[in-house]
Symmetry: C2
Subunit: 347 residues, 2 copies
């Protein structure tokens, strides 16, 4: 295991700056003395775009390749046309670095608020495909802006891309106590992509006889997310369905302030990237109101990916303990939550 | 207003037969004496397909055109490959009859179970586009079944198709007390279709100064469905997002057993079609366990569409009253619920 971490930091927009600062604080506190942490901050996002018109220049993309991992805050600002930063920066990174595993664990921690009555026992992980589907940017528009406009979006899916994410999900399911994997798609309508997903899923399943498998259409899956979320263990799904389902998952497990994610390239050809599921939340930016917990939990995923399992668990335990002691009445600042978590992991 | 109704009935698969019978029972009970109701049943669905290989022959499609409206139960059976009946029958009808308004009201009736804590006040309607988007069947697969397979799904969107559904949604919003319309899409990723939707939405909005407008990405919308569903009044969205959101809406408003829908062609060039949002539920088919309420509420939408507003309201009031008196302990059969509703509307 390497005893140094060369980390790229992209705070990005809105609350990104604030939450990333807390993530780094906790990272510093949890790392053993002998691990050398180097960080380099990249100035990317809305401000950069306004200043220079650039989203992610080639030189910076090149430089980012040299890091062991990337910690990202949030991308997106209302002052920038929708899609410019998302496609030109966030998705560009996910695609350029072939982050085909978009890993999003969902757990209802004790003492956290859920909109669901009865506080079901939720503990599942969504393995969202990260490099294909409707996210490829394939499509176009003809006679744009006229009454005769036609706009298309092409979901591109390859056996290569589907099989690798499905295999990863089976591995993860096999390593968990319940060993259950649910494929979510919409193969009664999207028959070309949907049947390919299902066929590959069924084929790989034969290699994992201990894993119980299930298939749900995406619309039905949303029902179970609110009526029976305890039925899920590992879910594997397409890029867009994964996007939708993981926001819903975050909502039922105490909110987007707690949802962590990793954009992972398991082959380590390129650095993996870790980020909270939430966005830049411009309405509360700069006010110390953002909950940095999702970023801190993303740091745990980052550490696990780099082989620091004990440290990842320490962070997760600290978050658990911190949440257990939160009371609805007292509200802490972003900084105070970061401090509290840093103290806990250092213990 | 025509004083006769020439209704096509497609019971379809699974519980379709059972729930449609109750829908017709209530329809018969609510209609004034002088309205002549003629019904013709069409044998379409899984059994027909097994027997003849046909999903929807041209002759029957032609015959269906002659009706004032269609009442449909449910389509789909595990014995038929996924997609065959959905694409070959259900979606074929929606597309052939240009059902561009897929209308799906969501209301949390008093005394019905919701998985949400705190029983928020939910009363919104989703206007789902019904003839475009990823549902067009546009796409294909290359080198099918090999490791080199590529499968595509093309979402096709036209200004013509988007503008007409957006206009319909503004009209509906304008006619409701709260006058609020939310566009749901994913225009930060699906930039071609998403921007076209947003531009058309903004353009039409200028003609409805009294309607408050809002835009949400589909992932964020799922969060609000469970944390703040009372914020919605009318929602307009694409075919696939509408599919997903309306199942979630059904789940939070007491379940898919209560969710009604209308596939409407407001130009009346072709008959509109009314169906419960739920599927064929083969696991409980034939056991008298299915709740026919969603079908009965779909009959109300059918009556409203044909100009029988008072009768539609009578059905909705009957359902409200019936639900208010349901108690969790006693479970009634499909038939008993139908009887109870028929008695109420006849009063
Ligand atoms: C910001 C957006 C492009 C992104 C996505 O759609 O993947 C976000 O919603 C997410 O889930 O990480
Ligand atoms: C059965 C299926 C094709 C259909 C759809 O996706 O539209 C259903 O889910 C619905 O919502 O009516």
């Amino acid at each position: 295991m390497s005893r140094s971490i060369n980390l790229a930091v992209i705070p990005g927009d809105g609350i990104g700056q604030e939450v990333v600062a807390q993530g780094l604080k906790v990272l510093n506190a949890v790392l053993p003395q002998d691990v050398k942490l180097e960080t380099k901050e990249y100035d990317l996002g809305a401000q950069r775009w306004h200043r220079t018109g650039e989203t992610l220049p080639d030189a910076e993309l090149e430089a980012l390749k040299g890091h062991d991992a990337i910690l990202l805050g949030a991308i997106g600002d209302p002052s920038v046309p929708s899609g410019v930063l998302e496609r030109g920066l966030l998705l560009k990174l996910r695609f350029a670095f072939d982050h085909f595993i978009n890993l999003r664990p969902s757990k209802l921690f004790p003492n956290t608020a859920t909109p669901l009555a009865g506080r079901p026992d939720i503990d599942f992980v969504v393995v969202r495909e990260g490099t294909e589907g409707p996210y490829t940017g394939n499509g176009g528009s003809l006679r744009t802006g006229t009454p005769a406009e036609v706009a298309t979006e092409v979901s591109v899916n390859t056996a290569y891309g589907v099989e690798r994410v499905v295999r990863d999900a089976f591995e993860r399911a096999n390593a968990r106590p319940r060993k259950k994997l649910t494929l979510v798609h919409k193969n009664n309508v999207l028959v070309y992509a949907g049947h390919m997903w299902k066929n590959i899923f069924d084929k790989v399943a034969t290699e994992y006889p201990e894993v119980t498998t299930d298939y749900l259409h995406v619309d039905a899956a949303t029902i179970f997310f609110v009526t029976q979320p305890e039925r899920f263990d590992v879910i594997v799904t397409d890029n867009l369905f994964g996007d939708i389902l993981t926001d819903l998952a975050a909502a039922v497990t105490g909110g987007i302030g707690l949802a962590a994610s990793g954009n992972i390239n398991p082959t380590d050809t390129f650095p993996s990237m870790f980020e909270p599921v939430h966005g830049s939340a411009p309405d509360i930016a700069g006010q110390g109101k953002a909950d940095p917990t999702a970023t801190v939990l993303s740091v745990a995923l980052l550490l696990r990916h780099l082989g620091y399992e004990a440290e990842a668990v320490r962070i997760e335990d600290a978050v658990s303990a911190d949440l257990a002691e939160r009371d609805g009445a007292t509200s802490r600042t972003t900084d105070q939550i970061g401090d509290a978590l840093a103290v806990r992991v250092a213990d």
